[in-house]
Amino acid sequence: MSNPQATVNKLLTWSSVDGPGNRLVLFLQGCNFACAACHNPYTIGVCNDCGDCLPVCEPRALTMQGGRVKFDADLCTQCDKCTDICPISASPMVRRMSVDQVIATIRDHAHFLTGITVSGGEATMQLKFLTALFAAMGEDPALSNLTRFVDTNGHLGAKGWARLMPVMDGAMLDIKALDPALHRDLTGQELDKTLRAARLLKDAGKLFELRYLLVPGVTDKPDQITTLIDFTRSLGGQTRIRLNAFQHHGVRGHALDWPPMQRAGVEAVADRLRAADTGEVATPALYL
């Protein structure tokens, strides 16, 4: 049997912010967007074994073996110097995990879990692994009560969604902007694929929530919120919207010139959405 593998940046066994209940969260490495406001940019690239990060690693947790970067977790002091220096926003501190390995970890934690969420990076870039993992969960009597969610930017095409949808219970879909030019500017990619994914997911009853990042002066303008309301309505029915507030934590580069989004601004947007009756509106629990 095939046992696809994924490149995993991090695995959490406790998360109350990645979907309903307590979720095991798998952060996969690699993203097809290059978002200026990304709060974990070191998950964007995939390591090409250039070796540039080796010299900055003081405890020598990184070594080159047979042309590939090897990472020793026991030696690592979590100084993050390697991810800071990596020219392609990758991380050498990743591990390869097979579906079987992940299933074993989920089984070990099943009694603590409401479900699992695969995040990233962009979870759907490792589609073969993702569909195999979700299918395996569905077939395992001990795990079939766990819900299977993805956190996605929606760039996956219709064919990909058609493969994933039958084994997936819900998606949390990020929309970075609703103006095509701004979207291109913020993410480096076209908006239309994301909007199409939102409709596909909504029609299949699997759009758990839309996530919208509020950046002051960039994505929180009144006409942009109007567009968000119009788009959500066009999906039909009610759709849960989670408003995220842009914060500096983890962010690199020119996005640091943007001010952090304040609670009052988020609440004002939330009030507009609630008045428009588009569905439940969630706001951040914390402002760092």
Partner: protein, 511 residues
């Protein structure tokens, strides 16, 4: 003036204490002018070095530390001593309880146990509307907090899903009071998922109730039942515990040359010394104090044969880390499998020793092991078997590191999971965590949610805002605030990343 008079004068003139609080401290001073029950020289030396500890309960035990009356008796029969007829309706039942509480002593002078309130009150609820029930419970709750303001006072509800339990959960979350503390007894066979959800949603709001793993506790006790009191103490109903003594495992480890010496000599020696201390205190209570001649025993609220001896330990984390250092192993308690396994082995050794030693005047002839939540003046010693403040791993890893200990601590194990405030938007996660913890063998599920004003200190509830006020010298209505302020400054307890406090953990005035 003599030293003694100096101390008494200080208590009498302290502007931050109420007259009742002063009376309490004065009584402790008076008791301690008496000689201690006879101890041999080795026990005296160990007690003075605080290798073993009597929780500063006083020199002449004249009431048990914890009394858990079976209030069903007074609700069924009334009391001839108190000239009370048996109550006939809900108002009379609540009034009877309010009177009864005033006659139940404990180490703090306030009752620690309010009873299985839903089971006690349900028979009086027929014909009472939900609205009336809610109003009566709300007044009852306000009375308890204002008249008996001690955070160690504890009510029990569950395991069934019923109107009284629901009304109590609703009122408790609405009022956000320190007192009373509350435990919901959860039994997956009896409780509905719905009421567990209500209880865990309350934790997200006010860090209460605690949730007890009912099947595990029920199996530890007999058919007469048990109650959860104070912080995390599981004790026989219609009885309680005569004493709480404890061993400082850190000091035991310090006195040991290596791991083998710890298990072969140092630990068995400390265990024996603590047994001798405990027996001397219990003998005084049973043979000299006359406590069991009171109406409480005569009318059957309590049975003298149902008092256990809580055999406490603390500073497991420090002990394990010291032994790890001695052996040149880097792994830390709470994080490293080998370090955790060493901790579990220590717990097993303690449990075996307690099961092997017969005791006089003790329920079923054996003491009960207890993972003790700490005193407000403990320095560099982590409560019970907990992982040190501020260094805890994520909640799931936390539960898994500690779960194997739980089987050994029949009279309770104090553990607080600190949960970041994002969980307020997702109480389902707490529900799931609680179910997971119980599946792993946790006896108790207790969580503090960061940013709640109401938080647990070493086990009792405090309001962070009260501690701030106390520091500003305004005094506090609630006995436990003084302790919470002390614990916060001495033990770094508020480092436990995420408020009234409690009397019984005080080592006496100004200690």
């Amino acid at each position: 003036m003599s030293d003694t008079q100096d101390r008494l004068r200080q208590i009498v003139s302290d502007p931050t204490l109420s007259p009742a609080q002063k009376r309490g401290y004065l009584a402790v001073e008076a008791e301690n002018m008496l000689p201690y029950p006879a101890l041999d020289a080795d026990v005296v030396e160990a007690l003075e070095a605080r290798l073993i500890c009597d929780m500063y309960e006083g020199h002449a035990p004249y009431r048990p530390r914890y009394v858990l009356p079976d209030y069903a008796v007074v609700l069924r029969d009334g009391s001839s001593w108190l000239e009370l007829e048996a109550p006939r309706d809900l108002d009379e039942a609540i009034s009877t309880l309010q009177i009864a509480y005033h006659h139940v002593p404990s180490i703090t002078g306030m009752p620690v146990f309010l009873g299985d309130l839903d089971a006690l009150l349900l028979p009086f609820c027929e014909g009472v509307t939900d609205d009336d029930l809610y109003k009566k419970i709300k007044l009852f709750w306000r009375y308890l907090d204002r008249v008996l303001p001690d955070a160690f006072m504890h009510a029990n509800i569950g395991p069934s899903d019923n109107r009284v339990a629901r009304a109590i959960l609703r009122v408790d979350a609405e009022l956000g009071q320190i007192a009373p503390n509350l435990t919901f007894k959860y039994d997956p066979e009896v409780s509905t998922p719905d009421i567990l959800r209500l209880a865990t949603a309350n934790i997200a709001k006010c860090s209460k109730p605690q949730i007890a793993n009912h099947p595990v506790h029920a199996a530890t006790f007999d058919d007469r039942g048990y109650g959860i009191v104070s912080c995390y103490n599981a004790l026989p109903l219609c009885g309680g515990s005569s004493t709480l003594t404890r061993i400082n495992l850190k000091k035991v480890a310090e006195s040991a040359e290596n791991e083998q010496d710890f298990f072969d000599r140092a630990l068995p020696c400390a265990i024996d010394l603590n047994f001798r201390l405990t027996q001397a205190r219990i003998d005084h209570l049973y043979e000299k104090s006359g406590f069991f001649q009171s109406f409480l025993a005569q009318e059957g609220w309590i049975n003298p044969d149902r008092f256990t001896a809580m055999y406490g330990i603390f500073a497991m984390a420090e002990a394990v880390n010291l032994l790890q250092d001695q052996a040149g192993r880097a792994g830390r308690y709470g994080f490293d499998d080998a370090a955790n396994a060493l901790g579990h082995r220590i717990s097993k050794h303690l449990a075996d020793a307690v099961a092997a030693r017969p005791m006089r005047h003790v329920w079923q002839g054996r003491a009960m092991l207890h993972s003790q939540a700490g005193l407000s003046n403990d320095v560099d010693a982590t409560p019970g078997v907990r992982i040190p403040y501020g260094t805890e791993p994520d909640p799931v890893s936390h539960v898994r590191a500690l779960a194997p200990h739980h089987a050994f601590y029949g009279s309770g194990i104090s553990e607080i999971l600190t949960i970041d405030e994002t969980v307020k938007q997702n109480p389902e996660a707490l529900f799931q965590l609680c179910k997971g913890a119980f599946a792993e063998g946790f006896r108790e599920f207790t969580a503090n949610v960061a940013s709640n004003d109401l938080v647990r200190v070493t086990g009792y509830m405090v309001r962070l805002s009260d501690i701030e006020k106390f520091r500003a010298c305004e005094g506090s209505r609630i006995n436990t605030t003084a302790l919470g302020a002390e614990a916060a400054e001495v033990t770094g307890i508020l480092d436990r990343k995420p408020r009234v406090v409690a009397h019984e953990q005080s080592a006496g005035y100004g200690q």
